[in-house]
């Protein structure tokens, strides 16, 4: 799983040696991504005192996605788990693909999620 620095918010891929050596900013604490409830995400942010990333960076997008837990579809090698209720409730269209690929529909964000509308259309990492 990708790891994110608790201090500067930089994201490192699973096998990145920086996870062992410490972040570029000098911090040695990371948290890794998984689907979080809103409460869990808020608690982690409080505990780690993580700074909000101001830029429209990938880490911010992923962080917001994780925090809001607005997955609609999870894909894994030809198998798709669809959260019908969130789709039908007009939640923004967020897809987690194979190997940590995230797809975000800009149009759905524009229509449905004002706070996220500035983010890019398709995000791959």
């Amino acid at each position: 799983m990708p790891h994110k620095c608790t201090k500067c918010g930089k994201v490192y891929q699973e096998n990145d040696e920086r996870i062992l050596r410490g972040c570029e900013c000098g911090n040695r604490m990371f948290f890794y991504f998984r689907k979080l409830t809103h409460e869990e995400a808020e608690k982690i942010e409080r505990d780690s005192n993580a700074k909000k990333v101001k830029s429209e960076s990938l880490s911010r997008v992923i962080n917001d996605i994780e925090k809001d837990a607005i997955w609609n579809i999870k894909a894994g090698d030809g198998i798709y788990e669809i959260d019908l209720d969130s789709l039908m409730s007009r939640e923004p269209l967020i897809v987690e693909g194979d190997e940590g690929e995230y797809l975000v529909s800009l149009s759905s964000l524009f229509e449905l999620k004002k706070g996220l509308k500035k983010y890019i259309d398709i995000i791959k990492k």
């Binding site: 090698d77 030809g78 798709y80 669809i82 019908l84 007009r90 229509e111």
Partner: protein, 209 residues
């Protein structure tokens, strides 16, 4: 919110304009007979079919529309645009298709298309005036898909009729669908044989126009 407002506005305008053509969406789980029903109506009244029908799940993976279908109901004429939607599902697994002779790649492509189809179908909810929820009366109606569709249509204020399809098949239980969703009109039909379609047309005229 915006889509919901547009839906309400469209319906209000329709009432005042006495608009007779309704945009009728066919929704439901996979293999419930949506395309069979759409084809039957289109063939009976237009002489042409809409899409392919197959026992393989997710045969319809794109929204299919046929416009200006005019149906005589006895008391008048019913004009509608039929929008046949891909089947709604909570999981699409390519392995399910491989039992129908598809290779790995074909099955995965179909799974991806089917998933896109689910999204498209749901997006189209903002563009329909009314919905026929087509269910297979030979299987248990208490499913997540059925309950989610009905619940969300109710939340959006979209008028609907539930179709208990496949009553020509031995063991079908349209009563089970009526018991599961007592707050809605349930019309038992057979899209394959055309049984009770007249009742369906009357119901559309009375409840959805």
């Amino acid at each position: 919110m915006l889509g919901s407002f547009k839906n309400v506005l469209r319906r209000i305008l329709r009432v005042f304009n006495k608009k007779k053509i309704i945009q009728l969406g066919f929704y439901g789980p996979v293999n419930a007979g949506k395309t069979t029903l759409a084809n039957k109506i289109a063939k009976d009244w237009l002489g042409k079919e809409l899409g392919n029908v197959s026992e393989i799940p997710h045969e319809t993976r794109q929204v299919q529309k046929i416009e200006n279908v005019e149906v005589s109901t006895g008391s008048g004429k019913l004009s509608m645009n039929i929008v046949d939607m891909p089947g709604i599902a909570t999981q699409v697994d390519y392995k399910r298709f491989m039992g129908f002779g598809m290779d790995d790649e074909e099955a995965k492509t179909r799974a991806k298309e089917a998933t896109k189809g689910v999204i498209e179908a749901i997006k189209w909810l903002d563009n329909v005036d009314a919905v026929l929820v087509v269910m297979d009366s030979t299987v248990d109606p208490y499913t997540q898909v059925n309950v989610t569709i009905i619940g969300n249509l109710e939340a959006r204020g979209i008028p609907m009729i539930i179709i208990a399809n496949k009553i020509d098949i031995k063991g079908s239980k349209p009563d089970a669908i009526e018991s599961a969703f007592p707050q809605h009109l349930v019309v038992p039909i057979s899209a394959a044989t055309g049984k009770n379609l007249d009742e369906l047309y009357k119901a559309i005229e009375n409840y959805l126009t």
